[in-house]
């Protein structure tokens, strides 16, 4: 039994009809409920909930402040390598694009680490393109061991690995796993992932669960919003998160809300996720999963990020580059364009101005 079985049940739901049939009364009931079930979640994601965003926001803010306080955890990504064997139609690292690929040496990793650590950030997310040859688990592990000298917490966002590989990384001091399903809708997933091992839908879907079994302290999931109908995708993501939370109560399950961003190619997303839609998703996530961390990346513009900090977000990236070695070298190819180029100091100032305390360190690797 894995989430795949739950997903198989959920995909039988007549979403189009269901989403249209919810009424204001259903939404109000869902907003007021203490424990929300799948039905309530769907009501909050439905068109009927659109006039109730303010009520949802009030409750989301209360829940967030009560559980997390007036604080915002900060982190930043570090790109280790951009070699990739997949052809995904929405990503600059896709194997079809011809640009000089790069992989950091251990010395280069150290230099990047020094620059990032000097900004005060103590939580790091390391990323690679998907290539078992160029950036295998052993390479990630080697980098993580160096990075532990500079950071209190090191998480990974790499291709799906086996439970044994995840365990090895946990033992090396990696404490968090981020892995986006990209698209939960299986036919769309097949269309968008043209070539490479990433085509194996289930290997990716089950990877967060393997991470929980391997003992990561936190596991973060998400759908790349815009690839398919956002209401359904957000619904699947939240139910996936609750599945993991129920089955692995000792693991902190978090959610990310990445929206599609421009990249090297010309792909246009199928579903336009407006700012209002993004807000509706965040609020539905918070009400459905009151204690889950919700991360906000620099894919979003500064003006929007500044508003979203009050609506349920608990983690933000800052001082970001999406290029390999982007903190110390020039000329890399970004995985996608970011929208918020502000420095760590600027994000810190903004948070204080908004009445929030930036938290640079919220855990210590105990291995």
């Amino acid at each position: 039994m894995s989430f795949y079985d739950t997903l198989a049940r959920l995909t039988q739901l007549p979403f189009d009809g269901l989403l249209k049939q919810y009424t204001s009364a259903d939404v109000r009931r869902a907003v007021q409920a203490e424990q929300l079930d799948e039905e309530a979640l769907l009501a909050l994601l439905s068109p009927a909930a659109e006039p109730y965003l303010e009520e949802m926001a009030q409750k989301a803010q209360r829940l967030t402040r009560s559980h997390f306080g007036h604080v915002m955890q900060l982190f930043t990504p570090m790109y280790l390598a951009d070699f990739c064997v997949n052809h995904c139609t929405y990503c600059s690292f896709s194997s079809i694009y011809d640009f000089p690929r790069k992989k950091l040496t251990i010395e280069e990793v150290r230099k990047e680490a020094e620059i990032i650590a000097a900004t005060g950030l103590r939580h790091l997310l390391i990323l690679t393109g998907e290539s078992r040859k160029e950036s295998p688990a052993a390479y990630v592990k080697e980098c993580a061991e160096v990075l532990r000298e500079y950071f209190a917490s090191v998480s990974i966002e790499v291709n799906p690995l086996s439970t044994a590989e995840y365990k090895e990384l946990v033992q090396a001091g990696v404490d968090g796993l981020t892995l986006y399903q990209e698209v939960y809708h299986q036919d769309t997933y097949s269309k968008l992932h043209v070539k490479g091992p990433k085509r194996v839908y289930r290997n990716r879907l089950d990877a967060p669960e393997r991470g929980c079994q391997a003992g990561f302290r936190s596991v973060n999931i998400g759908a790349l919003l815009g690839m398919y109908d956002w209401r359904q995708e957000a619904f699947m993501t939240a139910v996936h998160a609750r599945y993991l939370q129920d089955k692995y109560p000792d693991c902190e399950i978090g959610l990310s809300i990445p929206r599609f961003r421009p990249y090297l190619g010309q792909f246009n997303p199928e579903s336009d996720v407006t700012d209002r839609a993004l807000v509706q998703i965040i609020l539905a996530y918070r009400l459905f999963l009151p204690r889950a961390g919700i991360s906000l990346s620099t894919r979003e513009a500064p003006a929007l990020r500044d508003q979203l900090v009050h609506l349920g977000i608990t983690k933000m990236s800052a001082g970001v580059s999406t290029e390999v070695g982007g903190h110390t070298m020039e000329g890399g190819t970004p995985q996608f364009e970011i929208s918020d180029n502000r420095s760590v100091q600027e994000i810190t100032d903004m948070l204080y101005q908004k009445g929030l305390q930036p938290v640079f360190k919220d855990w210590d690797i105990l291995v």
Partner: protein, 254 residues
């Protein structure tokens, strides 16, 4: 009124313990300490960063007794490791054991907490375990060497009050250790009620940190805890179910 609370050889005149976790800026902490009159403050080691310019410890006045907590620990081993790190970092030998492996409600794991308490008490720590209010667990914590027990009033951060009232009452009656109500207290009246029941102290964070005016709320809690304690010491009058009849039914017996 001389009514000290003595824990681990430290004499305290304030029975309000506070936290550091949810403030909008660390610079509020000294003001909250001053207004609350608190002498014990808990701090999550996970948030302590000696390399930071804004290290949380630097905002805590010297006279406070630091109560580092093991927030984030999922097992006894992790809690023990965090406690040792805290002591090695110069944060003293008091420790609040928090072992939580339920990320949905953040309820403590009493069995792991007992194991961690045994190990740390044997190493000379003054151990204050955060626990679900359960009599057998509390007695085992005492046997393991705990300096106090800290049952929850309601889940952390919920501000729901003293939902575990009856169980806490039993701990106060049966466990020969200070009982400090920790977590869940949302209103000064609830803190006063815990104190009236005979709790030795209360520990809270969210209620002050998320109030519109944290400093005003800190002061309100100071007064409530003090009032509740005085009421307990003064001995509450008996509660009558109905009015006393002026013509008693058994009056003819003379």
């Amino acid at each position: 009124m001389q009514d000290p609370l003595i824990i681990g050889g430290v004499t305290l005149s304030s029975r309000l313990f506070i936290g550091t976790g949810k403030y909008s800026r660390n610079t509020l902490i000294p003001e909250v300490i001053a207004r609350s009159g608190s002498q014990v403050i808990t701090v999550a080691l996970r948030r302590v960063d000696p390399q930071s310019n804004d290290n949380i410890i630097s905002h805590i006045p010297e006279h406070m007794t630091l109560l580092p907590n093991t927030s984030g620990a999922r097992t006894a081993e992790e809690a023990v490791r965090i406690a040792r790190l805290a002591r090695a970092a110069g944060l003293g030998n008091w420790v609040k054991i928090e072992v939580i492996n339920d990320q949905k409600y953040l309820l403590p794991d009493n069995m792991e907490t007992i194991r961690a308490t045994e190990i740390l008490a044997a190493e000379g720590f003054v151990v204050l375990p955060y626990m679900s209010p359960d009599l057998s667990a509390a007695l085992r914590l005492k046997a393991a060497g705990a300096a106090a027990v800290m049952p929850l009033g309601a889940p952390i951060g919920s501000n729901r009050g003293l939902k575990t009232r009856e169980l806490v009452r039993i701990l106060i009656a049966e466990v020969d250790l200070p009982v400090i109500v920790d977590a869940g207290i949302g209103r000064p009246s609830e803190a006063a009620e815990a104190m009236e029941m005979g709790a030795a102290a209360v520990l809270l964070n969210t209620a002050i940190a998320t109030a519109r005016d944290p400093l005003g709320m800190a002061e309100a809690f100071r007064e409530a805890v003090s009032a509740g304690r005085r009421a307990y010491l003064a001995g509450l009058g008996p509660v009558e179910e109905g009015a006393s009849a002026s013509s008693p039914l058994t009056g003819f017996l003379g």
